[in-house]
């Protein structure tokens, strides 16, 4: 069963007198479990809107989103929250870490909403920080971490619930080349190890080059959908452990 299936998905913004914007305009797409794909396209082509629809942060104007075979159309807020909580992990361009929590506490947060028992939570948080090579910074607040480190914390947070789907909206948008490379490296390692689906929205051709499938959007529609051999990763220096 496909991990994500989109059927005639559309999101139309119509505000007052202004002309309506078809941010997502009839998209059909199927993503198998364990895929590592990039969503690219010019600014305003609907990438973020699409990602938010897939992750149930937003509801479509028409069409369907199936997550692991479940049609999210017509689900109420509570049921959508449950899908987000159990099936989806999000990574954002601006990290979105809570400033008052340290790395460890940020990572553990989704498990609290999942009502996982205390000791189990801590074990998994340690594990998740280990996966992104940040065990040594678990007590640091976001303000004490570099951009790359913050994004790795955010990735650990997205992965801790073991979601079937990880959605990342320009995760390297605020990072330099070296850190971009490291983040992609971490994601690919996790994708290999845990077989989770990764959908990464990006402007960066280098990032797209490291994926196995590139979906290009234009004006809310899929312009092209190509599979490729991913480029080899050669980050200048490994993240320190």
């Amino acid at each position: 069963m496909a991990n994500v299936v989109l059927e005639n998905l559309a999101k139309i913004y119509a505000e007052g007198d202004t002309e309506e914007v078809r941010a997502v305009n009839g998209i059909n797409l199927s993503v198998e479990k364990g895929e590592f794909l990039a969503i690219v396209g010019p600014s305003g082509s609907g990438k973020s809107t699409l990602l938010n629809l897939i992750g149930c942060l937003d509801v479509p104007t028409s069409g369907h989103v199936f997550i692991d075979g479940v049609d999210t159309q017509g689900l109420n807020e509570k049921e959508l929250t449950r899908i987000r909580r159990e099936k989806v992990g999000f990574v954002f361009q601006d990290f979105n870490l809570l400033p008052v929590l340290n790395a460890f506490e940020n990572v553990i947060l989704p498990l609290r909403y999942l009502k996982v028992a205390g000791h189990e939570r801590e074990r998994r948080a340690k594990e998740a920080l280990d996966l992104v090579s940040l065990s040594n910074r678990s007590k640091s607040r976001p303000s004490q971490l570099s951009g790359g480190e913050r994004q790795r914390v955010a990735i650990a947070r997205a992965l801790i619930t073991n979601p079937s789907l990880v959605l990342a909206d320009e995760p390297t948008g605020e990072l330099d080349t070296v850190n971009t490379c490291r983040i992609i490296e971490v994601m690919r390692e996790l994708n290999d190890k845990l077989n989770q689906t990764f959908a990464i929205v990006t402007h960066d051709p280098m990032v797209a080059g490291y994926t196995r499938r590139i979906v290009t959007l234009r004006d809310g529609s899929v312009e092209s959908d190509l599979s490729q051999q991913p480029a080899d990763l050669h980050c200048d220096d490994k993240p320190s452990i």
Partner: protein, 386 residues
């Protein structure tokens, strides 16, 4: 969870401080007034227990504390009251202010009460002697002092005190009741009569008079019924039954409590608005954070709970500090007035716990609106915000 809330509050120190300060001021006022009200309640309760032990009969136009210094009965009235069925004993009494110039006082005034000792043992039994002994039939020139009055006069058992220019030997001092009898000096009827004549030289001496008659009732008789009977059978008197005495005393405290509630209401409005203001700002500032929490799976109830908890913690903190400062003020003020033998404030569990609970509930209520708003935002919309 609590740790996170405290950190969030700490992160916005200045604002948290201002909000908490607003609540502290309100709760401080509430605590101090609560102490005042508690003291009043104590006194009212004590006054009630004393004045409802007997039926007071005063000349028409007189009040609970006796007929006043120019209103009195002749002694024949005592016999008239005694003849009413249901009356066990009618006791001649004279009420006099300890200081002729005393005007207003907080609670009961300092009062000399002269009683016909041969008949008033039932009534005097209600008083609990702390040191020395009670008054017995035939005592002359002896006084039984309430604890506050004894303190004020610096009296010792066996020593003497000056009451209206006459020396009395102190035979006993009563246990403190925190209320009415504390400020009373009990003497014999004859002694009080002499003082009365001295204070009112224009009244012909030798004519035995009484300014108040206390009546006790037979076992099993209803004092209200007996009171009614007295006012029907005896002319020219005002009968204050136990129930009426209670009503008169309660009225006094009612007015005061109304003022207290008025101030509590202001505290509610000010404190509530300041919490609402803080929470609205704090929530809109963290819209994005809420969006993030929703994205990683927090449902609306969880978000609502988190922000409600935060506002109730603010309320609790303000309540605790305000109550603490208020309590301190009460103790200091009580200490300062100690030398005057006045106790203005009392501390009861309600004075301590009440304001804290009040502030916490207030904080929670004030948080409801912003918390509801926060939890209802759509995740995409909140995440877009900066």
């Amino acid at each position: 969870m609590l740790k996170v809330i405290l950190r969030n509050m700490w992160r916005r120190k200045a604002r948290t401080f201002l909000t908490v300060f607003g609540i502290v001021v309100g709760i401080f006022a509430l605590t101090v007034l609560g102490g005042l009200s508690a003291r009043l309640t104590q006194q009212v309760k004590g006054a009630k227990s004393w004045f409802t032990n007997s039926i007071s009969i005063v000349p028409t136009g007189g009040s609970l504390f006796g007929g006043g210094e120019n209103q009195f009965f002749t002694l024949s009235k005592v016999q008239e009251v005694q003849n009413v069925p249901g009356v066990k004993e009618a006791i001649a009494g004279i009420g006099l202010l300890v200081k002729s110039s005393q005007t207003f006082s907080f609670g009961a005034p300092d009062l000399i009460i002269g009683l016909d000792l041969s008949r008033s043992q039932d009534l005097l039994k209600q008083l609990h002697v702390d040191k020395g002994r009670g008054l017995t039939s035939g005592d002359r020139g002896k006084v039984l002092l309430g604890s506050t009055l004894a303190n004020k006069l610096g009296a010792q058992v066996g020593g003497t005190v000056d009451l209206r220019g006459r020396q009395f030997e102190v035979v006993g001092i009563l246990q403190p009741t925190l209320a009415a009898p504390d400020t009373f000096a009990f003497v014999s009827y004859k002694d009080a009569l002499e003082l009365f004549f001295k204070a009112n030289p224009f009244i012909t001496r030798g004519q035995p008079i009484t300014s108040v008659i206390y009546a006790t009732w037979d076992k099993g008789a209803n004092p209200e019924v007996v009171s009614n009977r007295i006012s029907k059978q005896v002319s020219g008197v005002r009968v204050i039954s136990p129930k009426e005495a209670e009503k008169q005393i309660s009225q006094f405290s009612l007015i005061f409590n109304a003022i207290l509630f008025g101030i509590a209401f202001i505290a509610l409005v000010v404190g509530g608005l300041s919490i609402i203001n803080t929470m609205v700002m704090s929530v809109s500032e963290r819209t994005k954070e809420i969006g993030l929490k929703r994205a990683i799976g927090a449902d609306t109830r969880t978000i609502l709970g988190e922000y409600l908890l935060e506002s109730s913690v603010i309320g609790l903190l303000g309540g605790l500090i305000g109550m603490g400062v208020g309590l301190l003020a009460i103790l200091l003020l009580n200490d300062a007035t100690k030398s005057n033998n006045v106790t203005v404030f009392a501390i009861s569990w309600l004075v301590v716990v009440g304001p804290v609970i009040f502030a916490t509930v207030l904080g929670t209520l004030a948080g409801i609106f912003p918390a509801l708003r926060a939890s209802r935002l759509r995740p995409v919309e909140s995440l877009r915000e900066d």
